[in-house]
Symmetry: C2
């Protein structure tokens, strides 16, 4: 290993993968920004004291402001510490604010990249369907007063499964990223007043889950049939789909890797 | 009814009882204060627009900063509106911040007083027992890393039931209020990592629930036996009891009236 010198990028011999849970309420999303506090910045700043050098942390998913995570995955390269990766959750406890928690740590091959190595991601989206709002769930679900047809939304969600061009559900304005994704899980179920959508796929376009939910809710309200929902997917036309569901109902549940 | 005149206290002919749920995280408790925002002030200010005059709202329990409520009860006198009391929850929706919700409203006899008429109150206290903190529960439970003996805490809690002098569990400094209270329910149970205490009684001294929990946790940690806990209760000596459990685990669940 080449010796680290001033003003030179050090040679790193360890790649650390961490699983992170966070309440996104107080942050402007995961990705570091120049003008607002992001989760990536907190992790890079606070965890660097364990390693003795600035960290460059890569996240698997760029969650938006207000979006939460049970299982965001990040990685970073280091050579600055011998701390076993499995001890990082405990060591991070006193360094991170209480709304960001490292739940697991492991050492991975140097080639591992939290985003590029990801095989699939699972997102869930929570809706609270009740006449009155719940003060304890205001930051953790989308409150909808009217009754919703859960079976109808679940039926429509089945059209999402498979390999499709999801242009109808990508953020307006779009980008140059290819719009084809493979979705292997899409469901809607309820437990009491809580309705939960679950989506698993090899990747998701920007705002795709929230746009899917915003349109599925129209099915739940009886404003679209499941077949009309399928037609919107096939149209690849963003203007046909529904609104973008608000961020606070969305959770990055899990990132899966092939290893 | 005497006609309301300028600078005179109006004669009120309606007494309104409301049930309120709130997330206490952002407030300095229920009771109005000169130097900090309290839930009482929000209710008085925001709901007054429905009645056309300033409201003087009485709460059943003076919850502390960070303490929550599923069923705080308040009342106020008015003559300024014909709105049916049952419609107030819906009308209040757009007036109150999302962390305060009116869940029920009813008209009650003029003599009803939310605090003095209360027959009993139920409080619950939540502890999260897990090696790592949960970012979603940080404001809604007391996080304790070490394992706790739930059966032992429940056994000790049984000594609380009955009519006792609770001086050992009143806030240090005390007050002139008589320290005898009758407790008809005291229990500790767990569901997964969540431990829940429940206390029902005809009244509670200041900090009494939090002091009971702080001492019961010492039983759960094996630092006190159930019999030693009973001895502390009998001692009436605050210095023998444990710490005051933090506020964010406490919820005023219900206030009961004889009607």
């Amino acid at each position: 290993m080449v010796k680290t010198m001033n003003n030179k990028t050090p040679d790193f011999n360890r790649n650390i993968k961490l699983t992170i849970a966070y309440d996104g309420t107080c942050y402007h999303g995961f990705q570091r920004q120049s003008n607002a506090l992001a989760i990536q910045e907190i992790l890079e700043t606070r965890l660097s004291v364990l390693f003795g050098h600035p960290l460059k942390i890569t996240g698997a998913g760029r969650t938006d402001a207000g979006v939460h995570a049970y299982g965001q995955t990040v990685n970073f390269l280091t050579s600055g510490s011998t701390i076993p990766a499995g001890n990082i959750p405990k060591a991070a406890r006193g360094l991170l604010p209480p709304d960001i928690v490292v739940t697991a740590g492991e050492e991975v091959p140097l080639a591992f990249h939290a985003r590029r190595s990801a095989q699939s991601k699972i997102y869930i989206y929570r809706v609270l369907q009740s006449p009155l709002a719940d003060p304890f769930r205001r930051n953790y679900s989308w409150h909808i007063s009217q009754p919703l047809n859960v079976a109808g939304m679940n039926q429509a969600a089945q059209y999402i499964i498979g390999t499709h061009d999801f242009s109808a559900f990508r953020a307006a304005g779009g980008s140059s990223v290819k719009p084809v994704r493979t979705i292997f899980e899409a469901s809607c179920s309820s437990l009491g007043q809580l309705i939960e959508f679950s989506f698993g796929g090899n990747g998701f376009l920007y705002h795709m889950v929230r746009n899917l939910v915003g349109t599925l809710i129209q099915v739940g309200q009886g404003r679209l049939t499941a077949e009309q929902f399928a037609g919107i997917l096939l149209s690849r036309d963003r203007t046909q789909a529904g609104i973008t569901a608000p961020p606070q109902g969305l959770y990055l549940k899990e990132v899966r890797y092939s290893r």
